[in-house]
Assembly symmetry: C2
Homo-oligomer: 199 residues x 2
DNA sequence: CAATTTTGAGACGTCCACGTCTCATGTGAA
DNA sequence: TTCACATGAGACGTGGACGTCTCAAAATTG
């Protein structure tokens, strides 16, 4: 049963995303198995968190695939991506917290690749004229991933209902990222000047 | 020199926010002091991270204070808050990652208090009619903090220029949170229904 | 039912980070 | 200069998590 490993890994994520220093006992108990079995599945702690990272990255890559994030209207692509990525939001939360501390070259390359795909999506949206250009595509990618990760944490802690997650992300993010048809886009230079409160 | 402790704590944040399992050697080196001096300043690891949490919470509370987040127009309050909170974004990143794993009752109470202040700000904005009501105030608080934390990480990793941080957060977040004057607000129920891509 | 495999529980030994100590060096004040 | 104090470097003991092992119980398979 190859799915058994994934089940354990998902349980590990739910623990590690909140308490990165959790003992293996705790992770094993969260997965419903004994510490011995955990060691039979994964040689050690290092291997475990490495596989957790890989699973998370593969899941996110799969989300980008099934959402066909690289094709068509960028706004629609973002909506699809959110819908598909939210179930794995906790894995994204783990990635956001752990970020780039892996020595594994393979993992870093995978991470870079997915980041690049996200970046390309928002860049395409800007070229299509649907996303604002005052906000850099890099920042849009960053913020998008932060919101997905935040949703993962919030759901785990019971602060957000899972059924509201996709709607919440989509509305908030697109509201800030989409270029409003009517209003002329403010230039970054004009907006950067320290604007005070109200006229 | 009371500021010495804070300097060390800030250095500790920059390490711990990215690698929560970092050894004390690493933290000491990041702070430019020896492990012995680190132990002289803080009795142990537990005390260190506890004080890091306290510093972070106090800084965020101070940001809410100096931004007078509890008064006046909610939109202007958010703009002020972003401007003041961004310099301490890394501390928020630490809080976001560590979240609620403290046994200390004092810290948890402090955390709850600041969360409540944020929540009240967005609730007030909704009552004033400036913030969208389809997005719950709880979610707005959550997302706001996530973005600030994300900016902290991004700045540390050099993915975002510090001078762009406040503008990026403000524009993206307010763009999604502000109620657009013209368009009628979509109801959550209508929006929740699985909307496909484009008509 | 019998045989095989898998799992859980527990007992070890090992290793490393932590906490404490001492001592030499460096720094500031008298 | 001299003294008092703080700091850095290093050694040392300890505790606890980790990794490995064994054995009994349970599950699966025939």
């Amino acid at each position: 049963m190859a799915t058994d490993r994934d089940t354990v890994l998902e349980a590990a994520v739910s623990v590690l995303s909140r308490r990165p220093t959790a003992h293996l006992d705790e992770i094993a108990r969260a997965a419903g198995i004994s510490r011995a079995t955990l060691h039979r599945l994964f040689p050690g702690r290092e291997a475990l968190i490495r596989e957790v990272g890989l699973l998370s990255l593969h899941r996110f890559a799969a989300a980008l695939d099934t959402a066909t994030a690289g094709e068509g209207d960028a706004e629609a692509a973002v909506r699809r991506l959110v819908e598909v990525a939210v179930p794995d939001a906790m894995l994204c939360a783990f990635l956001a917290g752990e970020n780039q501390l892996y020595d594994d070259e393979n993992i870093n390359a995978l991470w870079e690749a997915q980041t690049e795909r996200l970046h390309a999506l928002f860049l395409r949206g800007q070229q299509q004229g649907v996303f604002r250009i005052e906000l850099s595509a890099a920042w849009l990618s960053e913020a998008f991933f932060d919101l997905v990760a935040g949703v993962g944490w919030a759901i785990q802690d019971g602060r957000l209902a899972p059924r509201d997650a996709a709607f919440s992300i989509t509305e908030l993010f697109l509201g800030g990222a989409l270029r409003r048809a009517s209003s002329p886009a403010p230039t970054p230079s004009s907006a950067r000047s320290t604007e005070t409160d109200k006229p």
